[in-house]
């Protein structure tokens, strides 16, 4: 059997999948690209070709820049909180103590909940009239009067980040916990005998084993956080005063609320491009960190 036939056969076997992929992803993608150069409305005319007008208008619009900033803030801060909290919780649950297994099982709960449920729960917690957060803060004396956490442009984004981090830190914690169990016992023992303190042991013994899996978690979470839509849509719909309007929300408003399919498409493509860049950078980082270790 020659190499040519092997290659041909490989393509033939992949053909059905390729056709499906092209029709459900490829076609809409190319149509989105085409749309982004038109002034098409969601309903009605196909629109006329307008060149880069949509892109020019977007890049110069304050709404876009603001949304980009909000998205970046949301992604960076929530992923950072998730990673730090996740690793700390993993280190805690790695210790030997009574009830450890129960806590490990409970850990998965926030992550297992559907985003909608999580979002509604946090709306209850943040509720300005009977929310648990207000009650708690007032009772311990940190707050004088109940506040509207989601209604205040100064606190809404932070409140959202807390809710999102709460939902997603268990994923990081679980991945870290698995990585911790992969650290060979003798290496930890050697570091103890060598006189390394807890911090040095974390830095030189634990971290090398944690870095790879953590990087994967970081990639997944950053990309997900960058295209966040559901939790924000349920909790604030991008408000108040657009203080939580991320790029995905902006795409939705542009394409569906304002029915501007053309400029919505160009915005969607920009978000896609940004995520692709992120993914490529991260994959390169993962390659590098994996190669350095093993």
């Amino acid at each position: 059997m020659n190499a040519g036939w092997t290659a041909t056969r490989a393509w033939l076997l992949m053909l059905p999948l390729l056709i499906v992929m092209l029709s459900v992803i490829g076609w809409p993608f190319f149509d989105t690209v085409r749309l982004s150069f038109t002034d098409a409305r969601l309903v009605g005319t196909g629109g006329d070709f307008v060149g880069f007008a949509n892109y020019e208008r977007l890049f110069s619009s304050r709404a876009f820049r603001r949304a980009f900033l909000v998205t970046t803030q949301f992604a960076v801060v929530s992923v950072l909180v998730e990673v730090v909290l996740g690793v700390l919780v993993a280190l805690l649950l790695y210790q030997n103590f009574r009830g450890r297994n129960v806590l490990r099982a409970l850990l998965i709960l926030p992550w297992a909940l559907p985003t909608v449920v999580n979002a509604l729960l946090w709306r209850l917690i943040y509720n300005p009239e009977y929310g648990a957060l207000n009650a708690l803060l007032v009772q311990i004396g940190l707050l004088d009067a109940y506040r509207s956490w989601l209604g205040d442009p100064n606190s809404a984004l932070v409140a959202l980040i807390v809710a999102d981090a709460w939902k997603n830190f268990p994923l990081v914690a679980l991945i870290s916990l698995a990585a911790l169990h992969a650290v060979p016992h003798d290496i930890k023992a050697a570091a103890i005998v060598d006189g390394a303190g807890a911090l040095a042991r974390f830095r030189f013994v634990i971290l090398p084993y944690l870095a790879g899996p953590l990087m994967v978690a970081l990639v997944l979470r950053t990309i997900e956080a960058f295209k966040v839509f559901d939790i924000i849509w349920i909790m604030t719909r991008g408000g108040p005063a657009n203080s939580t309007r991320t790029l995905s929300i902006l795409v939705y408003q542009e394409a569906f609320s304002f029915q501007r399919a053309g400029s919505g498409a160009s915005l969607a493509l920009i978000v896609t491009l940004a995520i692709t860049v992120l993914a490529v950078v991260y994959v390169a980082l993962i390659r590098k960190s994996a190669g350095a270790q093993f």
Partner: protein
């Protein structure tokens, strides 16, 4: 230069008792080799001395001071782990110098110390590499280097040479012996290799199932094994064990009924084991009365000796004979031995009967 004492040390994991009242007392500068089958508790003893495990009961003392509660890093002990336990993302140089780095030794001093040790271990050409870029033997030497560089009170070596080839192993063995003589540090050393044990040890502890069967100099262990287990475990090929009955007139071999007159005896007949080392057996002249008759299975020339595998009735019998003898399979031979080389053990308890 430190003394080390283990007093009534035991260790259980849950309900399994892994160590049962271990007593070891080492003078300063001693080289103790722990010898024993896999799983008998050697690594567990090492971990208890290092402080990585705490004993269920008993006391550990360095220089006479109880250290049970002292943190491992303050015990001033260096350990070579059975699995090397190198830090995967640090270079060889930093791996070796890690203990010094953690103890705040300045960089230039550290580098000099690392280089010195690396030269001795012949790994000075690979100081910039990561452990993943080393062979098993090289990794093992890095692990040894990490201990040597520290100049601690006590060295713990858990099978440090097990992954080296024969030649390197011999070189490293000689090197460790030389270093021990030079530094005079107290050492506890685990090995499965009897030659390593015999050549390095000032004393050997032979362990079985979490107990020490015998602790003594290599000569004592070899010449006067305290139990049948020690007798069989130390020596290659292992000691021949022949079932016999000890009575008022001496020994009677169970297989053949042949008698061996002895100065000691037993009032009531007693089931014993007669132990004879292969190298203590010789071909008997026709005139010799006290010889064991055996049928040859096969013979293996090893160079300096001819190892003859034979049977005395149902009892296997191995003899180390001079080379170049012509001994054909299925031929009959008669083997003799000198009384002073006999080892007699009680069959039920396995304990040596004084002869």
């Amino acid at each position: 230069m430190s003394t080390l004492d283990l007093i009534g040390v035991s260790k259980s994991f849950g309900r399994t008792e892994v160590l049962k009242t271990i007593d070891i007392s080492l003078a300063s500068g001693e080289f103790l080799v722990l010898l024993g089958a896999s799983g008998c508790g050697k690594s567990t003893i090492m971990n208890i001395i290092a402080g990585l495990l705490s004993p269920t009961s008993g006391e550990i003392r360095i220089d006479g001071k109880r250290i049970n509660e002292v943190h491992p890093k303050n015990r001033d002990i260096a350990m070579v782990f059975q699995s090397y336990a190198l830090y995967p993302n640090l270079t060889v140089e930093r791996n070796i110098g890690f203990g010094l780095e953690m103890r705040g030794v300045p960089k230039t001093e550290r580098q000099a110390a690392v280089l010195k040790v690396a030269r001795i271990l012949k790994i000075d050409g690979m100081l910039g590499r990561k452990p993943a870029e080393l062979s098993g033997g090289q990794r093992q030497r890095v692990a040894i280097g990490r201990a040597l560089v520290r100049e601690p009170k006590i060295f713990l070596f858990d099978e440090p040479l097990s992954n080296l080839d024969a030649k390197l192993r011999m070189e490293m063995r000689a090197e460790l012996k030389r270093l021990h003589r030079l530094l005079g540090t107290t050492v506890v050393y685990v090995t499965h290799d009897q030659i390593e044990a015999m050549t390095l040890a000032t004393r050997i502890a032979v362990m079985r199932d979490g107990r020490i069967d015998q602790i003594g100099t290599p000569e004592e262990i070899y010449d006067r094994p305290a139990t049948a287990f020690v007798a069989e475990f130390v020596g290659a090929p292992p000691m021949n064990m022949i079932n016999a009955i000890l009575d008022a007139n001496g020994l009677r071999l169970e297989e053949s009924g042949q008698r061996v007159a002895l100065t000691i005896g037993a009032d009531a007949p007693r089931e014993v084991i007669l132990g004879l080392r292969p190298e203590d057996l010789h071909l008997a002249d026709a005139s010799e009365e006290h010889a064991i008759a055996a049928t040859v299975d096969f013979a293996e020339p090893t160079g300096p000796t001819l190892i003859v595998f034979a049977r005395h009735g149902g009892n296997p019998l191995v003899a180390s004979l001079p080379p170049h003898l012509q001994i054909a399979p299925d031929s009959q031979i008669r083997l003799t031995f000198s009384r002073k080389n006999m080892h007699i053990f009680d069959r039920a308890s396995g304990n040596r009967i004084q002869t």
